[in-house]
């Protein structure tokens, strides 16, 4: 069976004797002074300042490099070729209408069955 009742171990509480507790903390504080002093000096040194700048500067440089590469890759893509029209080409050519259709459009007449068959064959080719 499990024992769920908490024990009273207060006599072992190191902070119960507050005087002694404070002396322990004061002792740690005092013994830590040389290391804390060394750390303060290091933190003020130019090398440390440079090192503290290095990380954000490196991050910024990496971002700039990534953006530059992206921009360059966009620049390298071939530009879309503009549609060049032949000087003699009419509206039908510009709209890329098959020749058989353009013939009857040019002549301003209704298409015959042959015209329609030719146009269909043109599409299928």
């Amino acid at each position: 069976m499990m024992d769920h009742e908490r024990l009273n171990l207060a006599a072992l509480d190191p902070a119960a004797d507050s005087e002694r507790w404070e002396r322990t903390i004061a002792s740690i504080r005092e013994r830590a002074q040389p290391e804390l002093q060394r750390r303060r000096l290091v933190a003020r040194s130019p090398l440390f300042l440079l090192a503290s700048w290095a990380r954000p500067m490196l991050s910024a440089a990496a971002v700039l490099a990534a953006v530059s590469v992206a921009l360059l890759s966009i620049e390298d893509e071939p530009a879309p070729q503009p549609l060049v029209l032949q000087p003699e080409a009419g509206v039908a050519a510009a709209l890329q209408i098959p020749d058989p259709m353009s013939a009857w459009l040019d002549e301003e007449r209704a298409p015959t069955i042959d015209d329609l068959l030719l146009a269909l064959e043109g599409d299928l080719r």
Partner: protein
């Protein structure tokens, strides 16, 4: 305002004594109990904790996850306690003349003597447990940690923590009886 450990560690790294002292005040008690669980001697636990905090300060740059400063500190405490445990017992935390002066300063020497006697009996009781049972018992019943937190710290299952705790309590009650009654 409660400053997170990570912030205090960052400040202590730059030599901020106030931040370091806050870390000491926040974690010294837990560190002491963990050391006590290993060496079962309060004076030794005191020495171990003082040294552990100084070592931690010197190696603060190696603390890669400052949010988990306590877990990192307790590893240092454990290592130092184990190495001390293997060697002969260290000297008492206070020299004899210092202890005598301290006794003179005390307001109620009778109450202090009774408290010291009870502490001795509890320490004797703890010596009858395994190291892990002592650690679980002290962290749970004195420091107020939850089963889950202890399991995470020790790298064992929560059910194992409960079983150890139950065994430790029963064992202590059998050994000490009335000494464990609530005040």
């Amino acid at each position: 305002m409660h400053e997170p450990d990570a912030l205090l560690v960052e400040r202590a790294r730059s030599g901020d004594g106030e931040a370091f002292e806050k870390l000491v005040r926040r974690h010294l008690r837990t560190a002491h109990l963990v050391a006590l669980a290993i060496v079962a001697e309060p004076a030794d636990a005191d020495d171990i904790c003082q040294d552990a905090f100084l070592v931690a300060l010197e190696r603060l740059d190696e603390c890669r996850n400052p949010d988990r400063f306590l877990a990192w500190l307790l590893r240092i405490v454990r290592n130092r306690a184990h190495s001390l445990h293997r060697r002969e017992r260290v000297r008492a935390a206070l020299p004899l003349e210092g202890a005598a002066r301290e006794a003179d300063r005390r307001a109620d020497p009778v109450a202090d003597a009774a408290r010291a006697e009870l502490r001795e009996r509890l320490i004797d009781g703890l010596r009858g447990l395994s190291e892990v049972q002592r650690e679980i018992l002290l962290l749970h019943d004195l420091e107020g940690w939850r089963h889950r937190e202890i399991a995470e710290l020790l790298g064992i299952r929560e059910g194992t923590v409960r079983a150890h705790l139950s065994y430790a309590r029963r064992n202590m009650r059998e050994r000490l009886g009335g000494a464990l009654c609530e005040d």
